[in-house]
Subunit: 464 residues, 2 copies
């Protein structure tokens, strides 16, 4: 029997081969569309579906591309030629919330914000906070080890996952990790799976480590600066003072201008918000926990020390508005043209040098690169705007953008940083990975991959 | 040329074969001594020494046992038959401290407390806090993913290591991880190495993530309870209230009695300390950060709610004395006989059930098992005392102790827990690991091991 018929026998109507469905999985939120054409999509409804797909694919040597909501920014879940795209976004149940042990057991397709909505009434929350949280899934957060706005204080996804159920390439179901907050029996295969972008196994269930919601007020501060170096200096001074802010976000001058245009178009948030037009930078700070108000006062003093103008939001609408200004960055960039969202991370002290390099690269290539940074952990998102003047087919990334991207990546690595802080390597950064890791680690990683997936059917052509 | 001669040519006087040195590495702090006899010890002075040993051992198929200060509690660094014990305790330099980026680069042999002494004047500290910190090394902390008193709030070793330089089994030197606090380029091999107990590679350098010392006061509370269930209920209530205490340590009645005897013998700490004689349990709590005093008041109220008697240390001597009471547990147990320190971890809500089970196991086997627990993360150390009435050769663990240990491990696993929270599997817990992990994960782990060490020369017979 043909592979595709076996697959239909096994998963029935979960198998989809219509062109619209095939096209849907050829792209993600990077804007890039692969020229390759996958064979089929399986919209898995259960662990058994996932096991069946992998068992058959292993037997037939057919590649399998695990996929959640498709909100990735590096092409990591884009269907490759002749592959079965294993879409687990329909496995979206919260199976268990344990309020006493502060754990939840979820399927991979749960949208991160939907999980938050389930947890909030119970006084619990899950720290990973990617900007995409309204549309991305817990499984996707795990696949990329997502970070976000809160991770300098509350850790990345790895720190909030205790255990995983994973289907291996041969269809075997294994349980990694545990339900306890601590444990060292055997290798930390849970951590190894987190951030592995679907190349080692398919997560079908995750045991998450939650936190209890604090009753203390969150204090929100907005500040503007004459230039981005001053904002970076303020962020550095805040960190150096020992304060751990919940959020510490820098937007550069180009971002301020873009958001100001959005506001001027009547699409901005409400509240008593600073004018961003003509500002060199905007800094969003949030303090939380038992000393949040005292910490906010220290933050304001440090902002003033370096010439910034900051103030504490005096009402909930303004506080929400300040956060919304930061979150408006991506819609604001989208008004400028097509955008490739980049994601380098450098040691915190190298933030000013990286901002300078971004300016220089922007000028050299004639491309606007408005940038936002999670300043608490040195993670910058330079957003390369593709102006209408640069012709390119839909879904294609022009050479000039790749040239600018390459300079960004190489500068980050030269500054002691990495080419991806939280989005992953996928397809789009694969050509630079060896420059960061070196040949020996590449070879070692390939052997680790083979230990999980000896036939190489899981997401081939991604990451390595 | 014979292997041993090649080794001498390569490392010179670092090679040691005298019987006293061989005997030194046949045991660790578990009290157990292997009947096996290693071939030689190399006291490595440099990365080059480590590479030379592994290159020659790979060529000759000779096993290599990495070892630091030898303070392990599971036999993980004990020399096996015919092996070269690679002692890196002499590689003990702090190579770099970056105050701005809050990172340190160290060799593996640095004693954890010595690192603290280097960092403290710079206003920095490294969170891992194993009870052995005065005698154990950073490399050993990494090899076991050490936890300690502070990890419920500040994380285990994994959360405080950014990157590693590792010599692989074939002598190749690889650099894993990075200097940034975030990054997802490639697999998280740093996390995989952490806790791998010398079976995947030899750590020769680590880039550590530091924290800045807080200027806020640490508040220390001591409390006594009629029984250990009440203490566990207090700890549960504290956690459920959302408080994150720096330390939350329970000592059971047997521990109280043992420490009281130590105090009565004039070996106890100073300060205005509670009497532990006849108490059902002692709870040590520390709050820190900007709201430490307010949090301490909440803790006291929660303690009183469940019938505990608690008070805040009013002076630094008393505060230090309360912590010293907790840290006196092991010297106190040692007065009762030889002790096997165990290390199970259960979901926090299972703490009372685990305490009950320990009591029952103690009664059934006629062995005192005083227990201390890191209550914030469900990690218990039941300490099996071997009474003088149970004859056994020095360095041997009697069968009755293994029988009691086995019941402890199986109970912990049945409660949803793990057989080791922070000490590792080593040799001593190897016979139970498959019960926790299952056959498929055992097989997968063996394949991962082979990806790093295809000849199986690194610490064979340990963990798996």
């Amino acid at each position: 029997m043909e592979f595709i018929d076996e697959l239909r026998d096994a998963v029935g109507p979960a198998l989809r081969v219509e062109p619209a469905e095939i096209d849907r999985v050829r792209t993600d939120r990077s804007g890039w569309t692969t020229p390759e054409v996958p064979l089929a999509v399986v919209r898995a409804r259960s662990t058994e579906d996932v096991q069946a797909v992998l068992r058959l694919a292993s037997a037939a040597g057919v590649p399998v591309v695990p996929r959640g909501a498709g909100t990735g920014l590096a092409g990591g879940a884009v269907g490759s030629a002749g592959s079965v795209v294993l879409d687990v976004s329909g496995m979206d149940r919260v199976l268990e919330v344990d309020e006493q042990d502060e754990t939840a057991v979820v399927q991979p397709g749960v949208i991160t914000d939907d999980l938050a909505a389930v947890l909030a009434p119970r006084g619990l929350w899950w720290p990973p906070d990617p900007a995409s949280r309204a549309i991305s899934t817990v499984g996707g957060n795990i696949a990329t080890n997502a970070g976000g706005l809160l991770c300098a204080k509350y850790g990345v996804t790895r720190e909030s996952v205790l255990g995983l159920q994973v289907v291996l390439a041969d269809g075997a179901l294994v349980r990694l990790g545990r339900r306890t907050v601590k444990g060292v029996t055997g290798y930390d295969l849970t951590a190894l799976l987190i951030g592995s972008e679907g190349t080692l196994g398919v997560v079908v269930e995750a045991t998450l480590k939650l936190r209890r919601t604090s009753a203390d007020p969150v204090v929100t501060i907005g500040a503007t600066f004459p230039d981005v170096r001053a904002a970076a200096a303020a962020a550095a001074a805040i960190t150096a003072s020992g304060l751990r802010c919940a959020a510490l976000e820098i937007l550069d001058a180009a971002s301020c201008a873009a958001i100001d245009a959005l506001v001027a178009a009547g699409e901005g948030p409400a509240g008593d918000l600073p004018t961003l037009a003509g500002r060199g930078a905007f800094l969003l700070v949030q303090t939380d926990g038992g000393a949040s108000e005292r910490e906010a006062a220290s933050v304001l003093a440090l902002i003033a020390d370096v010439g910034g103008e900051g103030s504490v939001a005096q009402d909930p609408v303004t506080a929400a508005g300040l956060v919304a200004l930061r979150r408006a960055a991506h819609p604001a960039y989208a008004r400028l043209g097509e955008v490739l969202i980049e994601d380098v991370c450098v040691p915190r002290t190298a933030l000013p040098a990286m901002f300078d390099a971004i300016d220089a690269i922007s000028l050299r290539h004639g491309l606007p690169i408005p940038t936002v940074a999670h300043a608490g952990d040195g993670n910058l998102h330079p957003n390369i705007v593709i102006p209408a003047s640069v012709p390119h087919a839909p879904g294609e990334i022009p050479d000039v953008v790749w040239a600018a991207g390459e300079e960004l990546f190489r500068t980050a690595i030269a500054l002691g940083g990495t080419l991806t802080g939280e989005h992953g390597v996928g397809v789009l950064k694969r050509r630079w990975i060896a420059e960061e890791l070196g040949d020996d680690v590449m070879a070692l990683s390939t052997r680790v991959k083979a230990a999980f997936d000896p036939l190489g059917i899981l997401n081939p052509g991604k990451v390595f």
